[in-house]
Every structure is written in C-alpha cells, then in structure tokens.
C-alpha cells in the first residue's frame, strides 16, 4: 500500500514523527503532573503553561515575578490597566476585564492553558472559567499571601523561582531589620475627607512591618476579616497615631491627599503629623497590592523612609 503511493510515504513518516513527539511530550507532562489544592477542589495541571491568564492582582504580580508574562490580566480597581507598580513589566498584556467583571470572551480570546483567579471568585464564574482552562482559586485567606503565591507558582511550574524570590525577600528583611527604628509604631491608613480608613495589619503590609521589628496599631490588629476598616471617626484619629504614618493614596497626587489631610485640625494634632513622619505612598501597593513584587516595593519604601 505504501509502495503504491510513494508520495504519501514521506507524509506518513512525518505524521508518525509528530505522533511520537506528541507522545513524548505527553509522557513528560505526565511525569510533570501537579495536583493543586484549590478552593474548589483538586485541580491537575501538567507541563509548563505558556498562556496564563491572571484574574487577580496577586496572580499578575506572581506571574510577572517568576519571569513570565500573562496572556491576559484584569484591570486594577478603577483604572484601565494593571497597577502602576506592575506597568513596566506588564507592557502589552491584554486586559480581560475589571475586578468587578471578568470578560469571558476576552479570556477565551487569550487562549489560556491556565487561569489564575482570586480567592473570592464565585462558583458560577469558576464553572465557566474551568471550561476554558484549568482554573486555580487559592484556598488561603487574606493573611497567608505567601501560600497563594506558591499555589499560583506551582500551577505555573515555577515553584522554584517563586520559592527563591520569597527567600530573597526574607533575606532582604533580615538585612533591613537592624536599620529600622526598632519598636516604632507604624500605622497605614487611607485618607478620606471625613476621616481615615485603617488598613488591617493581617495583610502583606502589616506582616512586613512586624517582620521588620516594627509595631502596628491595636486597631489595625483588630481587623481580621476585612482588608480595611470603615471610616474612623475623627474623634478617634488618635487611635491610629504612632511614630510613623503611611498614607496610602489611590491617586498619583499623593502629595495633594497629604495636603488635604493636613488641613484637618484633628490630623494636625497627631504625633506623626507634628514630627513630620507622615509619608504618602502608592495605595496600589500599600493598600491593595500583594505578592512578591509588591513586597519588594514595600521594602523599597520602608528602606527609603525609615532606614537610618
């Protein structure tokens, strides 16, 4: 049969080569299968996914931190693209929705072989996304950011890279710790015209501060379920007073937010304000950021302002 159609022989050889190649890949993949515990049960991922869609701020951070580029990302709250601190690395990454609404068609168009979603993804959306590609929803809550970073990285087959980056952060913290004003109380707030929003100390920021030997306020320690408080009464502003105050601003005009705060007599009475220890910082990192790159940005800010 083959001799009768010599021309097709080469085609067949080609075909079998491809087949054996495919078999080889699938064998290799098989050895590489990773079963990942997610909020919606165990998900198996094989190989090293090349098209990863990141539907969460921390997921985008992680993908970029391990040296990959997402095939799609969500716009950060209110903005048109990813957070500013990720912008350089994420140049050209298509936006497939906002934190409020994922655009399923855009996700599909990105042809993902892995989807990394946020911990708060609901079941209906999960069911739809997991039809497109294996979808990872980390189990961890607010507090364990490193766990969810590792979950994402493991799914991407980049666990080693992530582990290394996390270790580097620990090394950096250890090196920075002696330079910090030990035991100083640091509060992190977002300023609203009628008062302050207190950021929970159980997020990456509070954890980093504590690792550096700094103290957080009792009020921020008490926020275990929410990322930040409601608006604090101006009468209670002293409860977030400390040696230093970091004012997270969601706009680029950080100085203006600080000026607005300074106009408020209750703010002027703060110890931190009187000793000029109030620093305006990027809220996309300080109040909503989380991940390896965010942690490094936090350390940059802390080193710049507190290290002696």
């Amino acid at each position: 049969m083959l001799t009768r159609f010599p021309a097709s022989r080469r085609a067949l050889r080609h075909c079998s080569l491809t087949l054996s190649l495919l078999a080889g890949v699938s064998l290799a993949a098989h050895a590489d299968d990773r079963v990942i515990d997610t909020a919606y049960g165990k998900v198996t991922v094989s190989g090293t996914p090349g098209h990863v869609v990141a539907l969460d701020e921390q997921a985008v951070d992680t993908v970029l931190a391990v040296g990959a580029k997402p095939a799609g990302a969500l716009a950060t709250r209110g903005a048109e693209g990813v957070s500013n601190y990720l912008k350089d690395r994420a140049e050209g990454v298509p936006i497939v929705g906002t934190s409020r609404e994922i655009n399923l068609e855009a996700v599909l168009a990105a042809q993902p072989d892995l989807i990394l979603a946020g911990a708060r993804l609901d079941k209906t959306m999960y069911d739809k996304l997991s039809q497109i590609a294996p979808t990872i929803v980390p189990t961890s809550s607010l507090a364990q950011w490193k766990d969810s970073v590792m979950t994402y990285a493991t799914a991407m087959n980049k666990a080693d890279e992530a582990q290394q980056a996390l270790q580097q952060i620990d090394t950096r913290i250890a090196a920075l710790k002696p330079k910090m004003p030990a035991g100083a109380t640091v509060s992190v707030v977002r300023w609203m015209p009628q008062g302050a929003l207190v950021m929970s100390s159980h997020l990456i920021v509070g954890e980093t501060l504590q690792a550096l030997g700094l103290k957080t306020t009792a009020l921020s320690d008490s926020l275990v379920k929410k990322p930040h408080s409601d608006i604090l009464s101006l009468e209670n502003l002293s409860q977030v007073d400390g040696d230093w105050m970091f004012l997270a601003t969601l706009n680029e005009k950080g100085k203006e937010a600080l000026d607005n705060a300074r106009q408020q007599p209750a703010f002027q009475r703060l110890k931190a304000a009187q000793s000029n220890h109030v620093v305006a910082v990027d809220g996309q990192v300080w109040s909503s950021g989380s991940g390896i790159l965010a942690a490094n940005r936090l350390l940059d800010d802390l080193e710049q302002n507190l290290a002696n």
Partner: protein, 340 residues
C-alpha cells in the same frame, strides 16, 4: 369676620406653642450633639469642658469637632427643611423633596464632575453645587409641566428617582474611569457632616441666611398659589414667576447644603410632613416650623450616625434614609394625599 379671626388667633397660638416646643427640642439635640460622639470623650468629660474645665483633648473634641458639626447641622438642616417645604408648595406635591427629585443629585453630580475635571475637593466652590442644583430644579420644573407627571405626586417622585438614578449611574461611571479622585468623590456620593473644612462655616451661613431672607418675600404669594392659579392671579400674583423664584431659592439652599455636607435625602420630605401634621398645610405656618424641625432632625440623625458603629461612623445619609423611607411609604399609603 369674627369667626375667622378667632380661628386664626387660635392657630397663631398653636403655632407659637409648636415653635417653642421644637425650639426646646432643638436645644436638647444641640446639647446631645456636643456631649455624645464616637470617641473616648464621654458625656461627663464633655460636660466638664462646657463648664470651663481645662481638658485640652476633650476641649478640642467638643469645640472643634462636635461644635463645628453641630453648627453645620443647624445650617444644613434649616436649608433642607425650608427647601423641602418650598418645593412641595411650589409643585403642590406633598412628596416633592430635593433629595428625591434629583436636585441634590444634580448638585453632587456637578461637584463630582468638577473634581474629576481637576478641581480638588477642598477648593470646590459652592457655586458649582448651586449650578448643579439649579439644573436639577429646572428639570423638576420641566417635569411638572408635563401632563400626568406633574399632576400625579407619585409619578413626579418616580420621574425624580429616574433622574437621580441616571445621575448616580454617570457618577459611578466617572468613579470607574477616574480612580484618582475616588476617595474624594465618595464623600459627595454619600453625604456627611464629619471633617468638613472650617472654611465651609465661613461662607455657608451668609448664603443660606440670604436665601432664607429672600424666601420670606415668597411666603404670601405661595400661600395665595395654594388657593389655585386663578385665585392667585386674581389676587395680583404671577404663578409662573412665583414658581420660578421659589425653585431658584430652593436651588441655592440645596446647592449650599450639598456643597457643605454632600447629598442628604429625606430631610426635605420628613420636615414638611411633620410640620403639616401639626399646623395644617398653610405655608405661612409650616415654613417657620420647618426651620426648627430641620436642624433638630438632622442633629438627631448625626448623633445616631456617630453612636451606631463606634469607633467608626455611619454616613448620615444612611440614617436619614432609614428614618425617611418609612415616612415616604406612610405618605404614599395614606388614603388622602393632602393636596397643596
């Protein structure tokens, strides 16, 4: 006519009784507002400050924070109470309320627009809010000219709600596109008396007092208008002009109130409702009473907003809505909507 003079004398006396009763209530809420707050300064400590104690922290809280808020609440409450009464009288609709009809929404929308175009919240001038309120008032006026909608109190409120919802949607859209000012804008969407700059205390009282002074000129014509357009015209008034001037004053009152405290709904609905329940629907009585009921209610709502979720605070708009929504339902459900 001896009979009517007796009746009016009796009403005069009852108005005086009601006025003094509300004045006393207002005094009580003012004291409560100075004594109670979300902070650690207890009523006893605050009382000590008021009687001359040199407790610096408590002094600051009582005079700078609570004192300033109390003054603002009085100003804003007078403005909203009077605006509600005037608007209901001018549209002859017992449900007309600046907050429900989109006048406040117009004012706060204008402010949000100004902020997102680059003005900072601290520098937004109250003229922006007044212009927004005027546009809102103009729309109310146009809608009342439409047959069926203008004649039917409930339809007018529906039209106002639709208008407010539309402005709210655009505001949300601007929030989505403009993260930059999200924190500042949020204030204008909810409304509060906390943390207002002391500058607001400088320019708002003169503006509102001026508007209230002008308002007194409109009381008689509005009372005549309540008798019907023909009778009012027969008495030498110009109904259209009266309505236009009234809405202008409403716009100034609501504009300033919104610039000071953000949109606060329902006060303009509850106040005339309560006033009418006590002295009847004659604007010559309800208006004066509403100038006392407005601040009392707003202060009460503000004190509640401070005590509800210590050490945080609820936006006052939430409290007024919680008090106001049942009143709205009650008014709509009552068999006989009072015709004004």
């Amino acid at each position: 006519m001896p009979v009517t003079s007796i009746v009016s004398a009796r009403r005069q006396r009852s108005l005086l009784t009601f006025c003094s009763a509300w004045l006393a209530l207002l005094a009580v809420t003012v004291v409560a507002s100075l004594l109670m707050g979300a902070g650690q300064v207890s009523p006893a400590r605050a009382l000590a400050v008021l009687t001359g104690n040199q407790d610096h922290d408590a002094r600051f809280v009582v005079y700078e924070l609570r004192g300033q808020r109390t003054l603002l609440a009085i100003i804003v409450g007078m403005a909203l109470g009077a605006a509600g009464t005037l608007l209901q009288s001018a549209t002859r609709n017992p449900l007309a309320e600046p907050g429900l009809l989109g006048v406040s929404a117009g004012a706060s929308f204008a402010v949000v627009l100004a902020i997102s175009l680059g003005a900072s919240a601290a520098t937004v001038h109250f003229s922006v809010a007044i212009i927004g309120a005027m546009v809102g008032c103009l729309l109310v006026l146009l809608v009342t000219q439409v047959r069926y909608v203008g004649d039917d109190p409930v339809r007018l409120v529906l039209a106002g709600a639709a208008f407010s919802a539309m402005l709210g949607a655009i505001t949300t859209l601007m929030l989505l596109f403009d993260q930059r000012s999200a924190d500042e804008i949020r204030f204008w969407v909810i409304g509060t008396l906390a943390g207002r700059s002391s500058v607001a205390l400088w320019w708002s009282p003169p503006g509102i007092l001026l508007a209230l002074a002008l308002m007194t000129l409109l009381v008689r014509p509005l009372a005549a208008l309540a008798l019907g357009e023909h009778i009012a015209t027969g008495l030498g008034h110009h109904p259209r002009l009266i309505r236009l001037l009234t809405l202008l004053i409403v716009a100034v009152l609501v504009g300033i109130a919104t610039a000071v405290a953000g949109p606060i709904a329902f006060i303009g609905l509850i106040v005339p409702f309560v006033a009418r329940a006590q002295t009847g629907s004659d604007i010559r009585r309800t208006l004066w009473l509403s100038l006392l009921i407005g601040p009392t209610l707003l202060l009460l709502a503000d004190v509640l907003s401070r005590l509800a979720v210590k050490p945080y605070e609820l936006p006052i708009g939430v409290i007024t809505a919680m008090i106001g929504a049942p009143v709205l339902v009650a008014v709509v459900r009552s068999r006989r909507l009072p015709t004004l």
